[in-house]
């Protein structure tokens, strides 16, 4: 591809082809950080600078009160994600980063679904909720709110099942994860 300094015309296809290289496997990063001002911004900034789209991001306390755990999922080819994790390691307030392999970790997310439900359809919805081991946590005359916890795939599957009933609203937390066995995440 032509260098920006030269007169050579850049083609849109070439530009898009290089951008397309970015889509690769999904990564679940677990990042242990100190509770200091600006940590989240610094981390998000490093992803933004490299043109990554963060799919989900969860921040919460850990067993140590001065530390938080950030779990984020991102799409990226092996090479560029490696650059980002190396840069993340350089942040002074970041203590630890793990790129969790799906086989060696468990990951869960929670979702709330507000679904249209009248007397006629309520029973059928309850059956689906049962199958997915969800919970109905609010019932109104025309709606129910369902809580579902599970893997990303399970939540997606539940969404597909209830959508035909009339999905009014949905809120999802994004995944949190821990590594299996004795090893620390």
């Amino acid at each position: 591809m032509g260098e920006p300094g030269t007169k050579e015309l850049l083609s849109l296809e070439e530009l898009e082809a290089t951008a397309g290289l970015r889509t690769g496997r999904k990564h679940v990063l677990s990042i242990l950080v100190e509770n200091k001002p600006g940590v989240l911004t610094r981390i998000a900034g490093l992803f933004a600078r490299r043109g990554f789209n963060i799919d989900t991001l969860v921040v919460g306390p850990t067993d140590e009160s001065s530390l938080s755990r950030i779990t984020l999922t991102v799409d990226g080819a092996m090479h560029p994600i490696d650059q980002v994790t190396k840069q993340l390691h350089k942040l002074v307030n970041v203590l630890k980063i793990r790129d969790l392999e799906p086989e060696e970790a468990v990951a869960r997310e929670m979702a709330l679904f507000k679904v249209s439900a009248d007397a006629g359809s309520r029973g059928e919805i309850m059956q689906v909720v049962e199958i997915f081991r969800g919970k109905i946590i609010d019932v109104q005359r025309r709606t129910v709110i369902v809580e579902v916890t599970g893997t990303h795939a399970k939540v997606e599957a539940f969404e597909r099942m209830v959508r035909p009933f009339g999905l009014i609203e949905m809120a999802r937390t994004g995944e949190i994860a821990l590594s299996r066995g004795r090893s620390e995440t």
């Binding site: 032509g2 001002p37 600006g38 911004t41 610094r42 190396k86 942040l91 307030n93």
Partner: protein, 560 residues
């Protein structure tokens, strides 16, 4: 001991060994400046915060110590964004203190409020937003520790003005513990041994040395390693001075305007030992055709640099001084036989004989820009600190001036900041008052921070400013000439200002040198004048820097 937080800052600075700072006061850092008043720390009042930031960089580069710059909130802080970015790109240890509006005004668009902490996040090694006055002393020491250790870089401390006026119980901070920041300094012994073996087996090795070798004070080790086996050495723009030049083992600078010898050697090398260098695009040219036959040993303190642009076969993370010293030890044990490099040296000498740096000299008294650099080298004997700005003059200086030791060549390499040179030279001169300090600049670059001439005059800082004046933004003009059909768009600078008159107006001595035949003596006389001097030297208007790896091309396709 009870004292105001701002007085504690002065105590911390003294504990860090700071004797001089650069800065500019304003509303939000009034308390700091009140504490500065009788702190005993020398403060140099610059004319623009950007000048202060670059001066602190120049001070750090010339001394190896941490530079310090103060600025107020809002516009003071936005004015240091350029030097901050510059220091980040070139790994310069500088601590910036910015004033901030009162905590009750934060986020309300208060007078002179800017989100300094937020907007500088991507361009600092680390930063602190002070939230409680008692945090201040520890933050200052952590800032210095982070700035100078590992891969050095700029650190910013943003201080709301009300918090700095509070009285705190100050206790000297003994140690700095940062659990998330533990840079690797010791190189891995096994990797070092593998690298020594690879070097021993190499038939066409090259040492490729960058600014990191200077930052790590590893010049002696690099030189000893090169001497141990007659290894050829090339340096990046930032690495010049890490190996003494001129020298038979010295190939010259590499990269876009490097020598053909250095670039051809990289192209044909079978082993490249990168020491504190980061394979910048100005070095590699077309990445896919960069050093295609070589294996790479990459020594760097920053793990994120390893395999960033070019995959490293033998990465060694750590401090260059530590690693190169131990590599030398391991290498000596293998008792290398330099005669195996005879063929390689023959090839190199062939290039050197066939492609020396050259230019066509004028037939009259007109001064060619390259001739000016050679004259300056002759007039000084190379015994000086030389800063430059950005552009053609910088490349010619890198080609024709030689440095026989580190920290004598003050550069804005990564960011390429026009306006860097003169204030950086000011900082260097303050750091090394016993040395002649010169800035070679262009008529374009100098106008970006020329307000600092008054600072030089006010404090009697004897920086000599040599302006290579071709009336053009020369490097942009060169690219327009070579790659854009000579459509000279917005590059002609006209004859203004008159730099001699400008020098006099700002309290410096001004002179203009126009005769090639007496240039060396005239420069010598100008450099001998006490105090700051501005030396305007009109040169050939349309000259190009050669040789050149055209953008996106490979090293072996150098032109000119």
């Amino acid at each position: 001991m009870m004292m105001r937080a701002v007085d504690a800052i002065m105590e911390c600075l003294k504990a860090e060994g700071v004797d001089v700072v650069f800065g500019y006061p304003g509303g939000a850092n009034l308390p700091t400046y009140d504490a500065m008043y009788d702190s005993g720390i020398r403060h140099i009042l610059v004319r623009h915060e950007a000048g202060g930031g670059h001066a602190a960089e120049g001070y750090a580069k010339a001394s190896g110590k941490v530079g310090v710059c103060f600025a107020t909130s809002g516009p003071g802080a936005t004015n240091i964004v350029t030097p901050l970015t510059d220091a980040m790109m070139d790994s310069v240890p500088v601590v910036f203190f910015t004033g901030q509006v009162r905590t009750d005004l934060l986020g309300t668009d208060g007078f002179q409020e800017a989100d300094t902490f937020g907007m500088t996040m991507p361009i600092v090694k680390h930063s602190f937003m002070i939230q409680h006055p008692t945090e201040i002393p520890r933050a200052v020491h952590e800032a210095f520790h982070i700035a100078r250790s590992g891969r050095p870089g700029p650190v910013l401390i943003d201080m709301p003005t009300d918090l700095t006026r509070v009285e705190i119980d100050y206790e000297p901070v003994g140690d700095v513990r940062l659990p998330g920041y533990q840079p690797t300094t010791e190189g891995n012994q096994k990797q070092i041994r593998i690298a020594a073996k690879a070097l021993h087996n190499a038939r066409r090795p090259v040492l490729y040395v960058g600014g990191g070798a200077i930052q790590a004070n590893a010049s002696a080790e690099v030189t000893m390693l090169a001497r141990s086996d007659n290894l050829p050495v090339t340096c990046t723009l930032m690495g010049l001075g890490a190996f003494p030049a001129p020298d038979p083992q010295w190939l010259g600078m590499l990269g876009m305007h490097g020598t053909r010898t250095a670039n051809y050697a990289m192209d044909e090398a079978d082993l490249i030992v990168a020491i504190g260098a980061r394979f910048d695009d100005r070095i590699t040219g077309k990445l896919s055709e960069f050093a295609p036959r070589a294996k790479f040993v990459h020594i760097d303190i920053d793990p994120a640099e390893i395999s960033k642009n070019v995959p490293a076969h033998i990465p060694i993370v750590g401090d260059a001084k530590n690693i190169v010293g131990r590599l030398l030890e391991e290498y000596r044990k293998l008792e290398p036989d330099s005669s195996r490099l005879a063929g390689w040296w023959e090839r190199i000498e062939g290039w050197r004989a066939q492609h020396p740096l050259r230019y066509e000299d004028s037939v009259d008294t007109e001064i060619k820009p390259q001739f000016l650099v050679q004259a300056l080298y002759e007039a000084t004997g190379g015994d000086c600190i030389l800063a430059t700005d950005i552009g053609q003059h910088q490349m010619w200086a890198a080609q024709y001036f030689h440095f026989d030791r580190p920290r004598r060549w003050i550069q804005s390499g990564g960011l390429g900041t026009m306006g860097f040179g003169m204030p950086a030279a000011m900082g260097a001169a303050v750091a090394q008052p016993g040395l002649q300090t010169i800035v070679l600049t262009g008529d374009g670059s100098i106008q970006m921070n020329m307000q600092e001439f008054s600072t030089l005059a006010t404090y009697g800082i004897p920086v000599k400013t040599v302006i290579m004046n071709n009336g053009y933004l020369g490097m942009v003009r060169q690219w327009q000439e070579l790659f854009w059909d000579r459509r000279y768009s917005a590059v002609e600078m006209s004859q203004w200002p008159d730099f001699v008159m400008l020098a006099e107006a700002t309290g410096c001595a001004g002179m203009r040198l126009t005769d090639k035949t007496t240039l060396v003596e005239d420069l010598r006389a100008a450099l001998a004048v006490d105090g700051p001097v501005v030396i305007d030297v009109p040169v050939t208007k349309e000259e190009c820097v050669y040789p050149m790896i055209a953008p996106g091309q490979a090293a072996r396709d150098m032109v000119g």
